[in-house]
Symmetry: C2
Subunit: 885 residues, 2 copies
């Protein structure tokens, strides 16, 4: 029969394939400690597999599991020498959750289980501490009622408060054992009233109830939310740990505390933690009493008057310190340890890898290498690549008091405060007056680029993590909260509503793009500092990774940023982003609205010098490196005039009537622009557009050559190819323009021509396309859109429903989906088969996502390209992928 | 060395793998006749492969091919005993095109080649007919100049007309040899003037020029257009046939003519054709002289006064008749034969399978089976499945005089006339007054369904062959011309402009949905009649085909039509089409605009009885057969109110303010509705919608059972699935509703649950999806859209550029594309692997396309589903697919 329940000391756990997945993080560590001889209270773990079985069995435990639990309960009784429900020496238990990864505070815990009207008296006798026994019992009733019976905890607290008021006392400690007796009676009445049944006296029923409640808490709203934020798959499930109780609240020689083996906020190699004398675990967390410091040093540093554990219980402290050192040596990682001192005896209740800030993660990893505790590879694996991003942006000072008024998607990390503005123009106006603004839009469009630059942060009420606002903001390193559907924007009256509040233009708000919070008023922020340890991690990453890291960039500023972070080229330069500047947009509009090739050529010739200069600037920064330039991609109507004035302007420039322009605009309207006349389809119809762009690239190259700047290798990328014929025609176009420029300048040009693979058909027909393409760059944004038939811009409406219904574990626009991955694999294989030398890369938003980078590494791509601020993330993720191989 | 040039009598052609593809249709038949001893003038064929080589060699013939031509020219000289360019007995040649399939009049021909200032004198002496020789020379100059030198032919005609005016004569025959001499001189001057070079006197240069011109004419505009319409791939190329001339214009014992072995317009087994005494081939076609009939019978029937060939040259007639019989026996098909009589000797210049009307194709096929000339299978292969569609609709009487004002896509066959209306309401209003209308819209939306029903035909200025207008019109059997971009619709002023003409509301127009013509005024139409032969063809098809044929239908009328055509079930019942009736749309809008599940449920409960009744009606007609019901698919905003009145209406029904409704409408707006919140995504968010629809289906089933109607098998189809979880959740929903209904009625229900495969991810992940789906129905419209990333609605803007640039041989929305086909193959294979019993079908527009049906048959699908009027087409195509296997 399969084992589902494991004693901490059981050797069966060694046979498990993935013990941590089966036992959960906490259970796994208890089993480790149990076998290694750490002072762990006896207990057992019910495996994570039971969680699934439990849900499939209508939220009930089946007989097989029940009997395994019973058997292991016997083992605890034997170990401890107490009996569960026994009227002389009753065994008491704690029941705790324990998922694969720690989800602190998200799931339920029950302590003191096994107490009832009779065993409480036995406990009193046994410990000779009646008050302690009664207090423990009332705590248990309160906890059990809240967790298992779903009675709001505050109702019990109210009873206590009322009781104290009546008695005229202030503190719980002022209550005697008789007082607790009276309250226990009130508690039981409350339970009866609320549930119509008596509080369970059968200890076995208590145990089963508690175990089931922990499993049920896996699907609680807060747990689901936490999983969503932290991208934890819901099918992992939680384990349940049942452990004999030890008491930190039996008197003055008892204590309980939480301690880190190193400082979790700055990474310093010093014990850091808090404890309370005569208390149970939750008292430390609850904040009703102020905990004391563990070490003398931290007590002195914080000028606390309370004695540290080091002073109060020097012997216990020494033993704790020894245990902590051993634990860290054993786990080779910083540990977060819960301990209890029962009558001067130290018990370790739990250990786990300690949560830490990105900054301390880096310091600890680097330090541990110095200490020869871990290798460089291990150090790299210790750091969550995604967390690096936060290090590079200012963040909210979490000590400050903030008022969160809404939440949205954490679209681009960092915090920013400023005056609310609703238009890009206003953002630019205030920016020129040195005033900070937050640009608030239903959604942004390419026209808003200047406003987004001018603003300190962007807030949108629509759009997902890969909406225009999100993508552009990340590229710029601007904080952005997107898709905050709680806010209702009223452009006309220049305000937005959230719940009952109305925020007007000019009012101060803050956004936290790292968490998605929208905050009223200004907030204090903490500026990032890039430490030597950070650079060390980057250097180590560079050593181990094989994937090249490029950046998506089209402005000199972004290009410079990315280069400073060590980007090894540009993987995506979106030329159309160069079209929106005020001094060019009119020419762009002329081009689009032209009725003849002649007019179009005229408008294009005005744009040529602008594009050329843009390229020169970028090429200079990227000297010697490859630069992938994507030719015009979006549908033309994105560039159309937006109001009467603009229409008039274009009409007069083109010698057309207002009506003519309006009519032409109408003709350009598309039902589904994403699937419309865009990408190379535009160039099939109007080859002169790409001709101008190629000319600009080649002339910029020549200019750089003349100035003796080390030449970049331009990789000219044709977007939205789905057939062999398209890339063939486009390649001929590029070569034709190159020959023209070569002929005129008598300088030979080197360049590659390739294509984005962003349509399923392109992936399926990669073999034919690779006959003409020298590189493939997977445009995973569009590829995800077409593979799923989901528009990023519109997915906000149902994405939440999809995540709640577990249809998506993770938004496929954030991490590459399996089906999309299949197409990438198909295309890579077919492409390489046709053309061994073909370069393969990815330039979608996924290029900065660690999971996706891992996929790219496995699939054997040559590079990933991501927004500038994600370059360090990508480097580390690429190194991790290689190390994991 | 590879053979590119083949003498008609050469046995080398027998070694060719696909002689018809290599030699072209004409060349293949000449080779057949040559070897079988028919009286064919000596000659050779330059293969179609040379066409490609020619274009790749910068439109030049390479030396290898030139030398092969030279060699075969020698063979003709030997055979005929004349020499090319010889000054005593010159060999004259004809140079003609010959593609794989006949493209009558689309490419160029040159006759009398080999004449120059000197050989013309030799010809005169030789034939003792100076006038004939000079006439031949001027014809040659005229033809060669037009075809090779690109001088407009009318300039030569003008010279002749002027000359005749000056001379005061009326007919060409009034001109003497001297007159022609003078004109030849004028012609040569014209050539010199236009081209700055002399008319070529070197006969070899003439020959090469002519051959090249024929190859060049393969890419002429008219040839490209013809290929586009007839879906002929451009890479097939044309062959060139070079043949010694025979002359039908050497005197009164000469003649030329065209004859069919059977009547091509009604299929009767009688010789049918025309001839002219003393004429060359093009005279018959040109219409300058009225040709005479071949047989006495047809002369009498048409009351012609001119003698028939049968009377005028009885011996030749007898020989011709014998040859025709032999040709038909040899080719086992009705032949279209060109012949010439030179000095009483009959020459067969060309034979090919005769073009015929759909009606005659059927009669000829059936007759030939009766005559034991061909088998039933062969008979079925003789009929173009697509042509059947035309037989079922009224068509324009081609004898009538029509004024075509614009062209569009032939979106739904048949002809119709009526008053121009621009709104569905007006179409309905006039319909109720018994007036015929043509609904003219920029594009149609589901709201226009009633108007489309009320109108006699639909004309749109936007949208392709699978636009909403086209799809719905075909379903209804209404003629439709779509995407007629030449017309500019002005809704405000209620008119449309085409070129300089303005057509106002109420004016009469006609449309021909079979050809795409828009015609001013009313036209005479010919009503269809379904003959016994047609039914015979259908019966034979039923015998041979294995694919089942279902129909796409959601109205009782369409269902009845499809059933009458022999549809074996419904493959696609689009339930949302039932939502637009006036008495339901308000409830639909209430449902969509509800802010709570309660309000939504209320609105849905109003819709339930309507849907239920619709299903009952359809189930009754389809009794005993499977009916695939697709649950709600389109995005909700398709149903939104369109004007203020409608908004008010909904607002009051929902107790909401006007602003509330407007706000909600704004929220429903989508950037790319095709990729938005639609299909099963709606049901993930609002399961109550599908619950209502399932309830309606099941209750309708029960109702039918109670009325003892033979039960249909409902196949409940979930649209837009891309993940396993979606189909799993949806299947559970369907089963839950079924159990509810079963419980209430105590009647057991049988049904299947399956999914559309219309997204690339669904195809890639078919194995997982097939765990839960009992059938797959390939929604090839959407699958094509997402695989290519092309929106049907917007593709009109560049589809022409794509076909002109040879990127698409055929619009992928008409015939299943290779890449899309790959996905269907992948999904079929994976689906079957997971679930052997899974039913596979196709319900996109491709279900009625013969090429696509052939693909479905090869891929092993179980059925195709198409619009009612395409059912006969699909049956025949399915039979052909099976026979071809």
């Amino acid at each position: 029969m399969k084992n589902f329940v494991f004693n901490f000391k059981s050797k069966n756990t060694k046979k498990l394939k993935n013990p941590k997945n089966i036992l959960g993080g906490k259970g796994f560590n208890l089993a480790e400690m149990g076998k290694k001889g750490f002072p762990v209270p006896s207990g057992f773990t019910i495996s994570t597999e039971v969680c699934d079985i439990f849900y499939r069995n209508n939220k009930k435990l089946n007989n097989n599991i029940l009997s395994q639990i019973k058997k292991e309960l016997k083992n605890i009784e034997r170990d401890i020498g107490k009996k569960f429900g026994n009227l002389k020496d009753p065994l008491l238990l704690s029941v705790r959750s324990g998922a694969r990864v720690s989800m602190p505070g998200m799931m339920d815990t029950i302590l003191n289980l096994g107490l009832n009207d009779k065993t409480v008296e036995a406990l009193a006798k046994q410990t000779k501490n009646k008050r302690f026994a009664k207090d423990s019992y009332r705590r248990f009733i309160q906890m059990y009622s809240s967790v298992v019976l779903k009675i709001d905890s505050y109702k019990f607290e109210d009873l206590i408060e009322n009781y104290k008021l009546t008695k005229g006392v202030l503190l719980d400690t002022d209550l005697s054992s008789e007082d607790w007796d009276a309250l226990i009676s009130d508690f039981k009445d409350l339970v009866k009233n609320e549930t119509k049944i008596d509080f369970p006296q059968d200890v076995n029923k208590q145990l089963i109830g508690a175990i089931c409640a922990v499993f049920i808490s896996w699907e609680s709203k807060r747990a689901k939310t936490y999983r969503k934020i932290n991208q934890i798959p819901s099918n992992w499930g939680t384990a349940v740990n049942v452990q004999s109780m030890v008491f930190g609240n039996m008197g003055e020689d008892c204590a309980t505390g939480v301690v880190f083996t190193r400082n979790p906020s700055n990474g310093k190699n010093e014990i850091y933690g808090e404890y309370l004398i005569n208390a149970q675990g939750e008292d430390v967390v609850a904040g009703t009493r102020t905990p004391q410091y563990i070490t003398l040093k931290s007590k002195l540093q914080s000028k606390s008057k309370q004695k540290s554990l080091e002073e109060k219980m020097p012997k216990v402290f020494k033993e704790l310190k020894k245990n902590l050192r051993l634990l860290e040596r054993h786990y080779k990682d910083m540990q977060d340890v819960e301990f209890t001192v029962e009558n001067k005896k130290l018990w370790i209740l739990q250990t786990r890898s300690g949560k830490r800030t990105a900054k301390s993660a880096i310091k600890i990893a680097v330090d541990m290498v110095k200490e020869k505790l871990i290798s460089r590879q291990e150090a790299l694996l210790r750091i969550e690549p995604g967390s690096l991003d936060n290090l590079l942006h200012p963040s909210i000072d979490e000590k400050s008091n903030i008022k969160v008024i809404a939440n949205g998607l954490p679209a681009s990390p960092g915090a920013a405060s400023g005056k609310v503005v609703f238009t890009s123009e206003e953002a630019e106006r205030l920016n020129s007056m040195m005033q900070d603004t937050i640009l608030v839009r239903i959604e942004t469009s390419p026209e808003d680029i200047n406003g987004m630059h001018a603003a300190k942060g962007i807030l949108t009420s629509r759009g997902g993590m890969t909406s225009h606002a999100a993508v552009v903001a990340r590229g710029m390193g601007r904080p952005c909260v997107s898709g905050s559907s709680e806010i209702e924007i009223d452009y006309k009256n220049k305000n937005f509503k959230v719940k009952d509040q109305t925020i007007k233009e000019g009012e101060l708000i803050s956004i936290d793009g790292t968490t998605g919070r929208v905050i009223l008023g200004e907030v204090d922020t903490v500026k990032p500092e890039i430490s030597g340890d950070f650079l060390k991690i980057m250097n180590w990453s560079d050593k181990y990774r094989k994937l090249k890291i490029r950046t998506n960039s089209e402005t000199p500023l972004d290009t410079k940023t990315a280069r400073d972070f060590g980007a090894e080229g540009i993987g995506l330069c979106r030329t159309e982003h160069m079209f929106f500047d005020e001094d060019r947009i009119l020419s762009v509009r002329e081009m689009i609205l032209s009725k003849s090739k002649e007019d179009r050529d005229k408008a294009l010739s005005k744009l040529l010098p602008f594009q050329k200069n843009d390229f020169i600037k970028i090429f200079k920064i990227m000297k010697g490196l490859p630069v992938t330039v994507r030719l015009l991609d979006p549908p033309l109507h994105e560039f159309l005039p937006k109001n009467k004035d603009e229409i008039m302007h274009v009409a007069s420039a083109l010698n057309l009537t207002f009506n003519d322009v309006e009519q032409r605009m109408l003709e350009l309207h598309e039902q589904n622009p994403m699937l419309g006349h865009r990408g190379c389809r535009l160039a099939i119809s109007f080859p002169e557009i790409y001709e101008m762009q190629c000319k600009a690239i080649f002339e910029a190259l020549i200019e750089c050559k003349k100035k003796k700047i080390k030449s970049i290798l331009p990789e000219i990328m044709i977007p939205l190819v789905s057939t062999e014929a398209e890339i063939k025609i486009m390649k001929n176009l590029v070569i034709r323009v190159a020959k023209d420029v070569e002929k005129k300048t008598k300088i030979k040009l080197s360049f590659l021509v390739g294509t984005m693979i962003e349509l399923p058909r392109a992936a399926l027909k990669a073999k034919d396309i690779a006959k003409h393409a020298e590189f493939f760059s997977f445009g995973t944004n569009d590829l995800t859109q077409t593979t799923f038939g989901i528009s990023r811009d519109d997915s906000g409406k149902f994405l939440n429903d999809y995540i709640e219904n577990k249809i998506f574990d993770i938004d496929p626009f954030i991490s590459i989906d399996e089906g999309v991955g299949n197409l990438i694999e198909i295309a890579s294989e077919k492409g390489r088969k046709q053309n061994k030398k073909i370069k393969l890369g990815i330039c979608g938003e996924h290029g900065g996502d660690p999971k996706s980078i891992n996929f790219c590494s496995k699939t054997g791509l040559d590079y990933v390209s991501c927004s500038p601020y994600r370059v360090p993330v990508a480097k580390l993720a690429a190194a991790q992928a290689e190390i994991k191989k």
